[in-house]
């Protein structure tokens, strides 16, 4: 075909600044998003798709809550805990939210140490993140148990609209599943980091491909997303 084939990699040719540069980047050859790896692009697009899933769940819940003809149970009372004789509204949810948001902080630190090739700190911070996640799921299990013991079922509850129980179990259950999957992945990847699989270029068991430290960041993207979704669930379900 041609006598000069350059083989140098990972170098983008210079491009114009501003809007023109933006447009020529997007339309240019090889990659639309320069300096975005395949894995990260995939995770971002997956999260966009997942946003639509959660968006549909929340919209369905909102339409049920707005159109109900029987009273909707008051979340401040339903999700109150009796501590020392006083009813503290939403205290458990507040703690859960705090734990999950803290886990995003430890995750961000893990990503940072991952790129510095600090295997020990990365793995420990990831495990700490997983621990926070597991704590969150544990508290959610406690909350479910409490509500079930008070008579809340997917098909009805003692206080009003049956959709309260069905949307609650469905949305928090679906979110909790996301957190659980995240915890499992965090543990698997923390183990790989700890063993140094990404330094020795050990191949994956299923995919027989080499991993990179970037997977820490990709897992982080997922984790932050799950965290962000929780903020919306918190706002729309508990604070409304």
């Amino acid at each position: 075909m041609t006598d000069v084939v350059e083989t140098e990699t990972r170098v983008s040719p210079p491009r114009p600044d501003g809007l023109r540069g933006f447009a020529s980047d997007w339309a240019s050859d090889q990659r639309t998003f320069k300096n975005v790896s395949w894995g990260k692009a995939m995770m971002w697009i997956f999260l966009l798709s997942d946003t639509f899933v959660f968006g549909c769940f929340l919209l369905a819940y909102m339409s049920a809550r707005m159109s109900t003809t029987v009273p909707w149970p008051n979340p401040s009372e339903v999700f109150a805990l009796n501590i020392g004789g006083t009813e503290v509204p939403l205290i458990l949810i507040a703690i859960m939210t705090f734990v999950l948001i803290s886990s995003s902080g430890t995750m961000a630190m893990a990503v940072n140490f991952g790129y510095r090739r600090d295997r020990r700190k990365t793995a420990l911070l990831m495990l700490l993140t997983a621990l926070f996640g597991a704590t969150f799921v544990g508290m959610q299990a406690f909350e479910w148990t409490k509500l079930i013991s008070e008579g809340v079922r997917p098909w009805g509850n003692p206080w009003g609209a049956p959709q309260f129980g069905s949307t609650f179990f469905m949305i928090t259950g679906f979110h909790g599943t996301h957190v659980t999957i995240g915890v499992i992945f965090l543990i698997i990847i923390a183990r790989k980091v700890w063993r140094g699989d990404f330094d020795t270029e050990k191949r994956g068991f299923f995919t027989s491909r080499k991993g990179h430290y970037e997977i820490v960041e990709i897992t982080g993207l997922y984790w932050h997303f799950v965290d962000l979704v929780w903020v919306f669930i918190f706002a729309f379900f508990y604070l409304w």
Binding site: M1, P13, D29, I45
Partner: protein, 592 residues
């Protein structure tokens, strides 16, 4: 555009990503069964989709037999009839068309046309197929469980879908259907992420977005739409599954069945319709856009002319994709939603006609004074254009609220969407198979059998669906098991029904000829060579045919031009491949 090689003198840009490391299969199992090669996965997807499509074809025969000869085939009772309708619709729309266009053609053509070694995540790509296969098996299991598959109609509207009066409503049918859909969406997401990321981030040097063949633009836009539309179906399926299994009331209002007050109450059936059609309308274009793209390439290749208005074609695809997300409630004019919505959704619906008309004009202008070769792919492409225009025109009727209301739930609707979403994309699928079969197998399909197949299919489809418009205008309702003699079904209309059924059986038989042709040509077809159609795109420039593992041998191709350099004045041949550096830079790329 900067730094893109157009002639032999331009510098070749550096590869921005290292060449991928391929997974090399070691055994027969990992080469042909659990393969991670997109080409093998594409063939697996296609064969599975076509197999399940044959089931849907047989179901349509049985429905037509019942409509033409009510009471003669005693094994078709009302329940069976509704089960046939439901399974025929669901299989055709999702398990055949979506899977074949995106899983089949997407997998085969994206890496090859873009000059990539494979999809970016071959392992997830393989999982995608196996989950799709599982979804198909769960769907088929419906035929073998007590109560049979669901008979709720392909739209699965609640509350009837989960009530005991509907076949499968209180048995296994609806549970299996919803589970199968959930599995399909999970499997599709794995594949879909692959297709999107490969198009965005995995192209060859010189392959800019505006040099991609329109086939890729169509598949890419459709996949993005699918990733955003399937979530609504996923959510609707999960919620209805809970309504059925857990006794929740997402979609179930307070309801009395057989004199008994059910436990449900307070749910909204309209909510399901909104969720379903937020998926359902984009789904029409998820099927149509790959067809648009493929047909553009077929016309350009077989008319030996560059596609007319390439940029407008790309933008039309993107705009149709975006608009299709804001038209969904035109399926719900008679649902009881707020009537003011009708005004908004009718307006957006009719606006879609603008980019669609641009595409049709551009196809016709591509043919204008072209060197038209009436090969079989070209015949099917031409068949697509007329069929699509026909179906699109009746869409203008149905898009208007006042015209739609009397036509709702009549045979007119059936005729409309079978023309636009059934026959038209299937024409493209056949055209595409005749076009790319030589690349996939190395042999040409038999020409004579192909021509018979085309004419019977094309004329037969018109003889089936044109009379159906007339039946619809008479007022013949769809989804009725038996019409009897009535105002809407006079003896003349009944004779027409018998005629339609005869034609349906004939067209079905022609597909058997096609399958025989595909099997026979595998051994006895004429040797195709590497590039039998003398086409420019990269999949025809592979070192061997069928393309080897890794697609392009040692060096990946460098792209110097767009995909449509046909009949360029002064060029030695009437086509210039995309990866050929032309010393005199005669490309028509910038003239368009």
């Amino acid at each position: 555009m900067v730094n893109i090689p157009s002639s032999i003198n331009d510098p070749i840009p550096a590869a921005e990503v290292e060449d991928v490391e391929l997974y090399h299969p070691h055994s027969w199992w990992t080469t042909y069964v659990f393969s991670q090669d997109a080409k093998v996965i594409a063939i697996q997807y296609s064969l599975t989709a076509i197999s399940i499509g044959l089931v849907a074809l047989v179901l349509s025969w049985l429905m037509r037999l019942q409509l033409a000869f009510p009471g003669v085939f005693t094994f078709i009772d009302a329940d069976r009839y509704y089960q046939f309708i439901t399974m025929h619709g669901m299989i055709m729309v999702i398990y055949l068309l979506t899977a074949l266009f995106l899983g089949g053609f997407g997998n085969y053509l994206i890496p090859l046309m873009l000059g990539a070694r494979d999809m970016v995540f071959p392992y997830a790509n393989m999982l995608s197929y196996w989950i799709y296969l599982l979804a198909v098996l769960v769907l088929v299991a419906g035929f073998f469980v007590p109560g049979g598959p669901t008979g709720a109609g392909w739209t699965l509207y609640p509350p009837q879908a989960v009530l005991s009066g509907t076949p499968g409503g209180q048995d296994w049918g609806i549970i299996l259907m919803l589970s199968s859909l959930i599995l399909f969406i999970i499997g599709f997401t794995m594949g879909g992420l692959n297709y999107v990321v490969t198009v965005l981030q995995g192209r060859a040097r010189g392959m800019t977005l505006m040099r991609m063949p329109l086939t890729i633009w169509g598949i890419f836009t459709a996949t993005v739409m699918a990733l955003l539309a399937f979530p609504a179906l996923f959510v609707a399926s999960v919620m209805m599954l809970f309504d059925r299994v857990l006794g929740t009331s997402f979609f179930m209002p307070a309801i009395v069945e057989m004199g008994t007050q059910l436990q449900h109450g307070g749910g909204s059936p309209i909510l399901f319709q909104h969720l379903f059609w937020f998926f359902g309308h984009p789904e029409v274009y998820i099927v149509a856009l790959p067809a648009f793209g493929i047909v553009s390439d077929l016309i350009s290749v077989h008319a030996r002319k560059n596609i007319f208005g390439y940029r407008m074609m790309v933008w039309a695809i993107v705009i149709i994709g975006a608009l299709s997300f804001v038209v969904w409630a035109h399926h719900m004019y008679v649902s009881g939603m707020n009537p003011n919505f009708g005004f908004f959704f009718a307006t957006t619906t009719l606006i879609i006609a603008v980019p669609t008309a641009i595409k049709v004009y551009n196809w016709v202008l591509t043919l204008w004074r072209g060197d038209i070769h009436l090969t079989i792919p070209m015949l099917f492409a031409l068949g697509f254009i007329v069929t699509f225009v026909n179906g699109g025109l009746t869409g203008l009727f149905l898009g208007n609220v006042v015209v739609d209301v009397p036509l709702s739930d009549t045979m007119f609707v059936v005729a409309h969407f079978h023309m636009v979403m059934g026959v038209a994309p299937i024409m493209v699928i056949f055209g595409a198979i005749y076009h790319w079969y030589p690349k996939i197998t190395g042999r040409m399909l038999n020409e004579t059998m192909g021509r018979i197949h085309f004419w019977v299919t094309f004329l037969g489809a018109y003889l089936i669906f044109f009379p159906m418009h007339y039946l619809g205008l008479l007022g013949a309702p769809r989804r009725y098991y038996e019409l009897g003699e009535s105002v809407v079904n006079p003896p003349s209309a009944h004779d027409l029904n018998i005629f339609i059924t005869m034609m349906a059986l004939t067209v079905g038989a022609a597909q058997v000829l096609f399958l025989f042709n595909a099997a026979w040509s595998l051994r006895h077809g004429k040797d195709a060579g590497g590039n039998p159609w003398r086409a420019t795109t990269l999949e025809w420039q592979t070192p061997t045919t069928p393309p080897p593992h890794g697609n392009f041998g040692k060096e990946l191709p460098v792209v110097y031009r767009w995909a449509y350099d046909y009949s360029v004045p002064g060029a030695p041949e009437d086509f210039i491949p995309q990866n050929e550096p032309d010393p005199e830079n005669r490309s028509r790329e910038h003239a368009s």
